[in-house]
């Protein structure tokens, strides 16, 4: 039982950054904007979070700074794609190139430096409950926040007027514009929110997951987060399934290796990717339902005729 607890703890740590970034990207895409720059925004969040964490000595300030850095990158993206109507796909990819370079440049001085990592919350007595205690009550604060954020996002999208506007803009910008909503404003806010979440995900990597700064330390996690939004068919609840499925299989294959399975490690490392495809195939049965959730105007440039 104890090893089950330990595995679950590892899975939670691996899934949390994916969940943050995917939640942000989901909101961005719901508004009809496809931002492929997740990796670039995450890495800027990681370096800024780490740097500010080092300078202030306070990991919470670092996380806030990382979040702001992600939002700033998203602001650049919004300016280019919504203000200057640049192509979203190419601009997002350029944002990733730009972010990886810029983070390496500003992070030069932080290589080999250590930081005060964010500590887990230890609630006396509750944490001591066998199996579930450490899982439910012994996480770092951001793990709880990831669930709160996702729950709030799901609630806002589905139940509130703000969510209605967001979906309207994402499904048909011309109609939303005709009704009188500011498409550009709504989309800009959604993009900024997405960037902030990606920055937060990056800061989680450099301040909690592995408290250090290294170039390229996101190592492709931004791409996985992007894929998870598609996996979830733009439904927030399914992001949890996706992030925990991917994180879970990643951890389990490492455990299987440690247990001495004689399968080539490359084949084992393929499993999280293959499992994600297989589960997507299983849950994608209802075409109409996917259409319903997918933002119809995704990636399309909006310019009002008048």
């Amino acid at each position: 039982m104890e090893s089950l607890t330990l595995i679950t703890l590892s899975v939670i740590t691996a899934a949390t950054p994916l969940l943050f970034a995917a939640t942000g990207e989901l909101v961005t895409e719901k508004s009809g904007v496809l931002n492929l720059g997740v990796e670039g925004m995450m890495i800027m969040g990681a370096v800024t979070g780490f740097g500010v964490g080092v300078i202030t000595g306070n990991p919470f300030v670092g996380v806030l700074a990382g979040t702001a850095a992600g939002a700033a990158m998203a602001g650049l993206f919004a300016f280019l794609t919504l203000g200057l109507l640049a192509n979203q796909v190419a601009t997002g990819l350029a944002l990733t190139i730009f972010g990886i370079g810029l983070s390496a440049l500003v992070g030069k001085g932080f290589v080999g430096v250590t930081v005060n990592a964010m500590q887990r919350i230890e609630i006396p007595i509750l944490t001591d409950i066998p199996v579930l205690g450490p899982i439910l009550f012994g996480q770092d604060p951001l793990v709880y926040f990831s669930f709160i954020l996702l729950g709030a996002t799901a609630f806002v999208i589905r139940k509130t007027r703000v969510g209605l506007i967001l979906r309207a803009v994402g499904d048909n910008h011309d109609a939303a514009h005709a009704i009188g909503y500011s498409v550009v404003l709504v989309r800009s806010l959604a993009v900024l929110f997405g960037g902030a979440c990606c920055g937060l995900a990056g800061a989680y990597l450099s301040l909690v997951y592995t408290p250090l700064w290294a170039e390229n330390m996101t190592a492709g996690r931004g791409w996985i987060a992007l894929a998870l939004v598609v996996f979830a068919t733009w439904r927030p609840g399914r992001l949890i399934l996706g992030a925990y499925l991917f994180g879970g299989i990643t951890i389990l294959q490492l455990h299987a290796q440690g247990a001495g399975w004689g399968v080539p490690s490359q084949i084992m490392s393929m499993l999280p990717y293959i499992a994600t495809i297989v589960v997507l195939v299983v849950i994608s049965g209802d075409k109409a339902k996917i259409r319903l959730n997918a933002p119809a105007a995704l990636g399309k440039i909006f310019h009002p005729a008048r």
Partner: protein, 357 residues
Amino acid sequence: MIRLQTRGEASRVMALTAPLIAVTLTVVTGAILFEALGKPAGPTLHAYFIQPLSTRFGLSELLVKATPLVLIGIGLSIGFRANVWNIGAEGQLTLGAITGGALALAFYEVDSPLLLPGMLIAGTLGGMAWAAIPAYLRIRFNANEILVSLMLTYVAGLFLSYLVSGPLRDPDGFNFPESRLFHDAATLPTLMQGLRAHWGAVIALFAVIAAWVFLSRTILGFQLKVLGDAPRAASFAGYREPRLVWFSLLLGGGLAGLAGVIEVSGAVGQLNPSISPGYGFTAIIVAFLGRLHPLGVLIGGLMMALTYIGGENAQIAIGLPVSVTGVFQGVLLFYVLACDLLIHYRIKIGRPVGVKA
């Protein structure tokens, strides 16, 4: 207040001027960036943009680098017109390298003029097979091709790593993870003596022309153009989605696979775990830089190739860190993408016409 007004027709003047403005802005920004980092702006920009274009070696390398970008970009641009989001070209390239390379290794002892064409076909088929998976899963199970093609990219990379560490490993290679070097019969001939540019560049150019003819002279091509311009009109016109999905993915995958086998046969000369520095992803940028037009893809591919080679050159000549080349590349792309605006819109300063104060 600043407003954008749609031009009735794309501006010819701006089509010429917009890239000029983008280049000027990039040069100015680059100069400031380089000076701020203590690098002399003039020589750095010279090393970046001029030096690679001023030697035969540099031009040859430009072709080597642009060949896979253009080939893949052509395939992707046609698929993107049909709104099929294949972002796994990198994986399809890898599979093409594997199937084509495996053929070269299987017939290692054979010196036949048929080997090379066979490899090119095998590579194309390998890329198509890998792209057929997302196509089938989308048609049959509604599985989104963005996720499937992207995930399969990682699988392909690991598969290649497995193969070169095991079954395809050089038997005399001290168990290092790479294959034998291909023989001459399995190597694409070069275009010029002593330089690396190879016949792959000619194949890429042929692909550009073929795509151009396809889009402007065939019915399917015309349909794709319409689809890209007005998706709603297309759906009313009753295009069959499965056919478009299959066509787009197989074409994109096939060209990516072809690029993969050309890369290992022409530029690398063997299979190893790192045959591509992300050509499949960069080609997505190339496709959109080229506005999904074959000629544009050709220009976009050459431009992206130049920024990579220029970055290496600036490291060697000026000692510019690789991180700065990334920043600079990003800035350049931002300007080029943003300046497209000027072709299709007018910038108006003042109140909208007809609105009384």
